[in-house]
């Protein structure tokens, strides 16, 4: 059966990360992944497409490309809607677990000013670890129940951690580990792969059409899109994490979202963060 043959070959591709982990790294073909070149091309593309937008301003998403919207945003920022989540996050972060330990014990520098280093590649696990994942692992390691990845407490905690990193440039590293490169490559593949009944990829909206309106929303450029996370979206009337952004994007194109923090989303976040290296963290953010 042809469908089955295709099916298994895709499975092989998906399992490639595992494959290279066990096999010797093969000699790279001519189109071998080159993250540094990708990041440069990615950045150059946006700079050329939007010559009036300053590089650091891309982290402000649609507000970097529409003056009427920017005014509304500046007004919002006078007393931003994420203020309550930010304060709650600060308090939660400082509150010890039942065992006396706290979030600070799980992170370098006590968790302050480290958001720009996430996601990082964990060479022990052989996988990408996002900030949201690290926070829940920290909770579980200390006998606490994990939080929902999409909003509420997780959004508050990441809001606070992002706030302590404001202005620090994204500094995502790809260690000399073939699994790290493969995770990056898988993330890139996810970003450009069309899915859902609408047959859209992430890139369809956020590379080809930023600044344009789809239905009623103004699309954000992919460059710097994660720097503002988590965000208070007026459309949600509340806060949302990177997990929430990914899952809602997928359902909007009529695809069934994957589980938050699945390997695919972790890799996607790795790729998207890496190509925004050098752009400042601006989270928490406010969006339409």
């Amino acid at each position: 059966m042809r469908a089955c043959a295709l099916f298994s070959s895709v499975l092989t591709a998906l399992g490639f990360a595992v494959f290279v982990a066990t096999a010797l790294p093969p000699a790279r073909a001519a189109d071998a992944p080159d993250p540094a070149a990708d990041a440069k091309a990615f950045r150059d593309y946006f700079v050329k497409k939007f010559p009036k937008v300053k590089l650091d301003d891309f982290v402000n998403g649609p507000y970097s490309m529409n003056e009427d919207m920017r005014k509304q945003w500046e007004e919002k920022e006078q007393f931003p809607p994420y203020e309550f989540a930010l304060e709650a996050g600060k308090e939660m972060f400082a509150t010890p677990f039942k065992n006396g330990k706290s979030y600070a014990d799980c992170f370098a520098n006590g968790g302050i000013g480290v958001r720009q280093n996430y996601p990082m590649f964990d060479e022990k696990e052989g996988k990408v670890v996002t900030l949201e994942l690290a926070l829940n692992r920290c909770r579980e390691a200390n006998g606490e129940k994990p939080y929902s990845y999409v909003k509420d407490e997780m959004a508050s905690l990441t809001a606070y951690m992002a706030f302590t990193s404001r202005g620090k440039p994204f500094d995502i590293k790809i260690p000399a580990d073939p699994r790290a490169l493969e995770a990056y490559q898988e993330g890139k593949r996810y970003f450009y792969t069309r899915r859902g009944q609408l047959n859209f990829s992430c890139a369809t909206c956020h590379v080809q059409s930023p600044g344009e309106r789809i239905r009623a929303e103004t699309l954000a450029p992919a460059l710097g899109i994660l720097n503002a996370m988590p965000i208070y979206r007026s459309e949600w009337s509340g806060m949302g994490t990177i997990s929430r952004r990914f899952t809602t994007c997928n359902s909007q194109i009529r695809g069934v979202p994957l589980e938050p923090q699945s390997d695919e989303y972790r890799n996607l976040e790795y790729y998207l963060s890496y190509v925004s290296n050098g752009l400042p963290i601006s989270g928490p953010g406010a969006r339409p």
Binding site: Q78, F79, P81, E83, F84, E87, A88, E91, S237
Partner: protein, 103 residues
């Protein structure tokens, strides 16, 4: 629990500029929940700012004021270090109050 009221009152010369953000759902009564049930209207009706025992600003609000409402105004006569009292009451009779120092 923390106060539902955030106030920034900044004095410059004779003018004190006040910004407030209040945590409140401001349900309009026109929105249905996931189960299709109408969420009953729940909104702040009156928000009062008092300085030196006198109201310097009173907001009468209906349900068309945004969730987590924000307001900005300015008044004369206060100085740095003075107290500004802020209080609200909603249509269900709930209320909150806080006192902010003018900066």
């Amino acid at each position: 629990m923390a106060s539902t009221i955030r106030v920034r009152a900044i004095n410059s010369g004779d003018i004190t500029e006040v910004q407030a953000l209040i945590q409140h759902p401001m349900d309009s009564g026109y929105v249905k929940d996931a189960q299709g049930q109408t969420i009953p209207a729940h909104f702040i009706q009156q928000l009062t700012f008092e300085y030196d025992g006198k109201a310097v600003f009173v907001a009468d609000w209906g349900p068309a004021v945004s969730k987590d409402p924000y307001v900005k105004f300015a008044f004369k006569g206060a100085k740095k270090g003075d107290d500004l009292k802020v209080s609200w009451v909603d249509n269900k009779g709930a209320s909150d109050a806080t006192t902010a120092k003018i900066q």
